[in-house]
């Protein structure tokens, strides 16, 4: 790969994988629920990147990936909204959004 050359499918996929992994790492390691939500958003964007970029290589005319990405973004937005609402409700109850405070249910 030379700098400046047009990126291939593999490069996009690798970038997406890195993004996804970063998001995943965040989701697994952050103590704060809001941070976890942000990490999940990062993972969602990795997916979107994949979809949008790969369309170019497999079926540029149909734009399937773009459509898919749009749907995905809309849904993600809704879901994150829902998640934030949940976190807010929890904050009202417990006055904290640390995940460690949420280990009551187990076994």
């Amino acid at each position: 790969m030379t700098i400046g050359a047009p990126a291939g499918a593999a490069q996009f996929m690798a970038l997406s994988a890195v993004l996804f992994s970063l998001g995943l790492y965040g989701a697994l390691s952050r103590k704060n629920a809001v941070m976890v939500l942000m990490s999940l958003e990062l993972m969602a964007n990795a997916v979107n990147l994949n979809l949008v970029s790969l369309t170019r290589f497999v079926d540029p005319a149909a734009m399937t990936g773009q459509f898919f990405a749009v749907f995905s973004m809309v849904v993600s937005a809704a879901e994150i909204g829902l998640g934030l609402a949940l976190v807010l409700a929890i904050y009202r109850q417990k006055k904290t959004v640390e995940l460690e405070a949420m280990e009551e249910l187990k076994g």
Binding site: E100, M102, E103, E104, L105, K106, G107
Partner: protein, 634 residues
């Protein structure tokens, strides 16, 4: 011959009528039982008479036949067949049975459960008659087992007492040990022949020696249980816990002789084997001698007779083992009469003396002349003194042994004869002579005496019917050969004399201990006076007593001990098994259940409640699958 079917049927019906009724009715209906056996006796006489003219040449006649099962191509039938042997046996059984039942009316009249007693006697009579009239081994076996049940019921008649209860169980179980052998014999027989019928098994089938030996030994084992042969004899002395007349019928005259009858019937198989005959001879000879020795040290009148029965049955096995089927049967018949006579006499004695211990008896002769005479006749027959029946049949057995050159067996038989005579004398003199130790002795009722007199009369005369009987059964019974007869009589006389010397000579029983304590010096003199007694005691009686006692200990400690010990061991094993069952077998399953619960707890432990742990586990699993795919290479 259709009426033959009634011979076992009448007592059976009598049982069927009596058994289900309430006690009071049952007791009231005792005459039904007596009437049934009397009628059977009449019919048996008729059947015997009808068979007599042709004797052994007459064909066996089937009086009754009912097929009760079809299995694997074979028909199993219930048949009543009359041939000379079965006609004779039926006659003996009904005759003794009648005598015992009549006697029992008097002997048992105070018993609350007399009706049940008669019901059991009836069932026994029916079973024994079914056995002797059978023409196949299966029917014989079935009747054999039912007899065992009756024996059990009658031994345990006084079941509220622990002794009879234990004795009845011991009897049933010990004989059943033999029965397992019998049953296995039937299995082997069926596998070889495909039938149980006498005709097929005994005459039509060509036996291979090995198979014959297996079947014969197994049947012999069964017979040894029933006929109380060494080492399965231990139950019979205990069985004396039952009512005496029942002992007379079952444990002296008939049931215990069924083993002899079985071996006699199965003679062709034994002959095809050869080995089995030798085993029979050895078993019989040992039993004859050991039984006699043990009889000589018993104090209980009935136990003396019980060991005597064991010994006499041993004689019969000796005869069979030497190939003398007819001699064995002959002794069976005479023994049935004189031994039942002795038992009935013992019953009278026990009633009169209120004890079974002969040390507490004495002087009965003066007050009970009829009993004494009848018992004496029986005793002489047992000792083998002519002209009593026992002499003739025992002589015939000895003759067979001589002819077959079985000299070792002959020697043992003679030794047994000596011992027999000795204990007969001991019994007789202890009981009937000497000072009376019981008050208010009086003669028994007529319904008890009459059967005894009849049996005594038969005992006195039946010996002379030997040759005719031999003719009837198909094998010559000659008059006694002078040489053998002299030997036999000599031995008997010696035994009687020895017995008289020890037990009959003195008229007063001395109890030396108080004297010894009070007059120490005088005692020495007295003992000097009794110098001969001491000599005999020390050099004849005591060693003999020690030997016999040692044998008794052996019997109790070793053989009986093996039986009892086996029982105890079995109990221990059962308990251990029970433990094993709960802990190991069941435990394995409960363990599995526990394992489920434990694994469940493990699963719970994974569920820690932390979201990120869950996520880590999930991705871990995904990574694992990915690694697996890498390794496998898609």
């Amino acid at each position: 011959m259709g009426y033959v079917a009634l011979i076992p049927l009448l007592p059976a019906l009598s049982f069927a009528v009596l058994a289900p009724l309430p006690r009071a009715w049952r007791n009231w209906l005792v005459p039904v039982s007596v009437a049934a056996v009397v009628a059977s006796l009449g019919l048996s006489v008729a059947a015997f008479a009808a068979t007599w003219p042709g004797g052994h040449e007459a064909h066996a006649q089937t009086a009754f036949e009912a097929v009760f099962a079809h299995i694997g191509g074979a028909e199993l039938a219930f048949r009543l067949v009359v041939d000379p042997v079965s006609a004779l046996m039926a006659l003996v059984v009904t005759l003794v049975g009648t005598a015992v039942q009549v006697y029992s009316v008097g002997y048992m009249h105070r018993e609350e459960r007399i009706g049940w007693y008669f019901a059991a006697l009836s069932l026994f009579t029916a079973a024994m008659l079914t056995l002797v009239l059978a023409d196949n081994f299966l029917q014989l076996y079935m009747a054999w087992e039912v007899m065992g049940l009756c024996s059990y019921l009658l031994i345990g008649f006084w079941h509220q007492q622990p002794g009879p209860r234990a004795a009845s169980m011991k009897a049933f179980l010990t004989t059943r040990v033999g029965d397992v052998g019998f049953a296995l014999g039937l299995l082997v027989m069926y596998a070889n022949v495909g039938s149980f019928d006498f005709a097929a098994v005994l005459h039509e089938h060509a036996w291979q020696p090995a198979a014959a030996t297996a079947v014969a030994l197994l049947l012999l084992f069964g017979a040894m249980g029933k006929s109380a042969q060494l080492p399965l004899h231990v139950w019979l002395p205990d069985a004396m816990a039952g009512p005496t007349p029942a002992s007379a019928l079952i444990h002296a005259a008939t049931m215990v002789a069924a083993g002899v009858y079985l071996v006699g019937r199965a003679m062709p198989i034994f002959e095809a084997s050869g080995v089995a005959l030798t085993v029979t001879l050895i078993v019989g000879a040992l039993t004859a001698l050991v039984g006699g020795l043990l009889a000589a040290v018993q104090h209980d009148v009935k136990k003396v007779l019980a060991y005597s029965t064991i010994s006499q049955l041993g004689y019969m096995f000796v005869a069979l083992g030497a190939g003398g089927f007819v001699a064995g049967m002959y002794h069976l018949v005479t023994h049935a009469f004189f031994k039942s006579l002795l038992f009935l006499g013992a019953g009278v004695i026990i009633h009169a003396a209120h004890t079974q211990d002969m040390r507490e008896m004495g002087g009965l002769a003066k007050h009970m002349p009829v009993t004494t005479a009848a018992f004496g006749a029986g005793a002489l027959a047992l000792a083998g003194v002519p002209p009593m029946a026992g002499f003739f049949s025992k002589d015939e057995i000895l003759t067979v042994l001589v002819h077959e050159h079985q000299y070792a067996a002959l020697a043992i038989a003679l030794a047994a004869a000596f011992v027999t005579a000795f204990y007969v004398a001991r019994l007789f003199f202890r009981v009937f002579t000497g000072p009376p130790q019981t008050e208010h002795l009086k003669e028994a009722h007529v319904e008890m005496l009459a059967p005894m007199v009849v049996l005594a009369a038969i005992t006195a005369v039946v010996g002379f019917a030997g040759p005719a009987l031999g003719e009837f059964l198909g094998h010559e019974i000659p008059w006694p050969e002078p040489g053998v007869a002299a030997l036999s009589v000599g031995v008997a006389a010696a035994g009687l004399a020895a017995g008289w010397w020890v037990y009959g000579r003195r008229t007063v029983v001395l109890n030396t201990r108080p004297l010894k304590e009070r007059f120490g010096v005088l005692y020495t003199a007295l003992s000097l006076k009794l110098y001969f007694d001491l000599t005999y005691d020390n050099f004849v009686v005591k060693p003999y007593a020690r030997l016999a006692a040692w044998l008794a200990r052996f019997d109790l400690g070793v053989i009986d001990g093996v039986v009892n010990g086996a029982g105890r061991l079995w109990q221990a094993l059962s308990a251990a098994g029970s433990w094993f069952d709960t802990r190991a077998v069941d435990g394995a399953v409960n363990g599995a259940a526990a394992a489920v619960v434990a694994s469940g707890e493990r699963v719970r432990a994974i569920q820690v409640g932390r979201v990120q742990a869950y996520q880590a586990l999930m991705f871990g699993a995904i990574v694992l699958v990915m690694l697996l795919l890498v390794v496998k290479g898609v």
